[in-house]
Assembly symmetry: C2
Homo-oligomer: 302 residues x 2
């Protein structure tokens, strides 16, 4: 199971639109505070999501701070408990006030040290809270929108349009040509970083067509067979990464210099060494990213 997936929560979409049911769930709930894009964590060396009591969280939530119901979790004794995310970004003192519960961390950096299920829950929390922070107005009419259904949607009071969280589908692919795979460095990445090519889907495409278009645009290679492998939610800020293997029809590269600084065909040995950090001056993707798993799967002959 890929990192960022595997949430144990039951989202209860049948109940979260009932304010009375949601209010009852708040009593005794685990409250996960998010502050300016960061998540509250505790523990060492393995990090866990840190929860705070409702009374504490409520003192930190400003009028702009949204509360989101994430789902129900089964406790150790078989009891169910609700989990909520609270946006406490408006309280400059939040890190100080909550230091007895944990410290705020960047989720991507912490992803390698977090328990699998906590990473999935915090990924959902971060995605939802940041969606609210970027979507306070109705794109159809420009009016201020209001939070509804325990933070799982927004509604425009003027034109009535309902707005649901946006997820941008993106393709990420390992192109292979015989016994070599294509790893590239985006112009926006650090000079030592090599990974799979990737890009957002455009309207009117299938996943397989988007893989072909992106590889053609960025590396100039034509692609034959495309095989879907796995998908991963990637809340930085709101992508769904769909990982594929793509069989290149040639190894001649024509890079798009506005996007790709360098691209290299690597053997299985070289790709394995990249993942293991054994190539001087070159880094591969972090182990929590689907890119790592695509490359690792190919290196292992899957």
């Amino acid at each position: 199971m890929l990192p960022f997936t595997g949430s144990p929560l039951d989202r209860r979409s049948d109940k979260r639109n009932d304010p009375a049911w949601v209010a009852e769930r708040l009593v005794g709930a685990r409250i996960l505070p998010l502050w300016q894009g960061q998540v509250l964590l505790t523990g060492s060396p393995v990090l866990k999501a840190a929860a705070v009591p409702l009374e504490v969280a409520q003192t930190l939530v400003t009028p702009q701070g949204v509360m989101v119901f994430l789902g129900l979790e089964e406790g150790d004794l078989g009891e169910t408990r609700a989990i909520f995310a609270f946006d406490v970004s408006g309280s400059v003192d939040a890190p100080e006030m909550l230091k007895s519960f944990g410290a705020f961390h960047d989720l991507r950096t912490a992803s390698l040290l977090l328990r699998h299920k906590d990473l999935a829950i915090l990924s959902q929390a971060k995605g939802m809270i940041e969606w609210h922070s970027r979507n306070g107005f109705c794109p159809r009419c420009g009016a201020k929108t209001e939070v509804a259904d325990a933070g799982t949607k927004r509604v425009c009071p003027l034109c009535g349009t309902e707005h649901f969280p946006r997820t941008d589908p993106a393709v990420i692919m390992l192109a292979t040509y015989g016994e070599r795979c294509l790893l590239a460095r985006n112009v926006n990445w650090t000079p030592d970083f090599y990974s799979c090519l990737a890009g957002f889907m455009e309207p009117g495409e299938s996943i397989e067509e988007a893989v072909r278009r992106e590889l053609q645009e960025e590396s100039g290679i034509a692609v034959g067979n495309v095989r879907y492998c796995a998908s991963q939610p990637w809340p930085f800020p709101a992508a769904l990464m769909m990982g594929c293997y793509a069989e290149a029809e040639s190894d001649a590269l024509t890079l798009d210099p506005t996007e790709i600084a360098d691209a290299v065909w690597m053997t299985r040995e070289e790709a394995r060494a990249l993942l293991e950090g054994q190539i001087e001056g070159r880094r591969g993707p972090i182990k929590s990213a689907i890119a790592w798993h695509l490359i690792d799967g190919w290196v292992r002959g899957r």
Copy 2:
């Protein structure tokens, strides 16, 4: 290749942000007019996308009417020609003015009669034009946004945020249990219509997790193995349908009455008869929908 996919256009994302290049492409371009959600078609019995000359299209475009560069097409003589979509919704007379070129039709209804590549191009056109019509304001700050990059994005002049077309990833799945598959009728569908279960993905899920959640929520079945099959852009209004097969772990159903009016386990013979319109009082999905292809593939043992 699934209907709505297979566009022959080269989207030229490297050039469409250059206004001079785009202006040159307009000369001699094929202009596809869209009017109040409908597309202009011609021909019989096979329908084709109807293009109109630039001079004609320009007389019909109102200040609100957006122009979108769709891509370059290779002509019969090897020449390249640009294709644009023009929103002429503001001209009440458009159907009358353009009747010598074609008639406006609903794209979903016409999808079975359209040439494969024209359906793909018109799907992109409809998706883009309707995205503009629903996104005139910045969801971050509420200001009016402006069209940029030949209609392929919008930009907020106040806060500077760039907005790209939204595509909502959705899962659609055929649940199977041994030699039977699950077909259901949504409460919003006509009383005779049965198809695959489907639903929008939520933030923090993989495709496979969304399939399991939707089947659990709507039909109460637990699912083991999930296998991705194919994807299809579905511009009604802006979904990406990701088709999967899901192995049910039991055939006991607990339907969600707010979503599902009825669900039936069908044998291969029954599912085949449904697709062929041979079950009295029951209709299956139209042949242009991925649901038809998922069911057909299973019926054929794929």
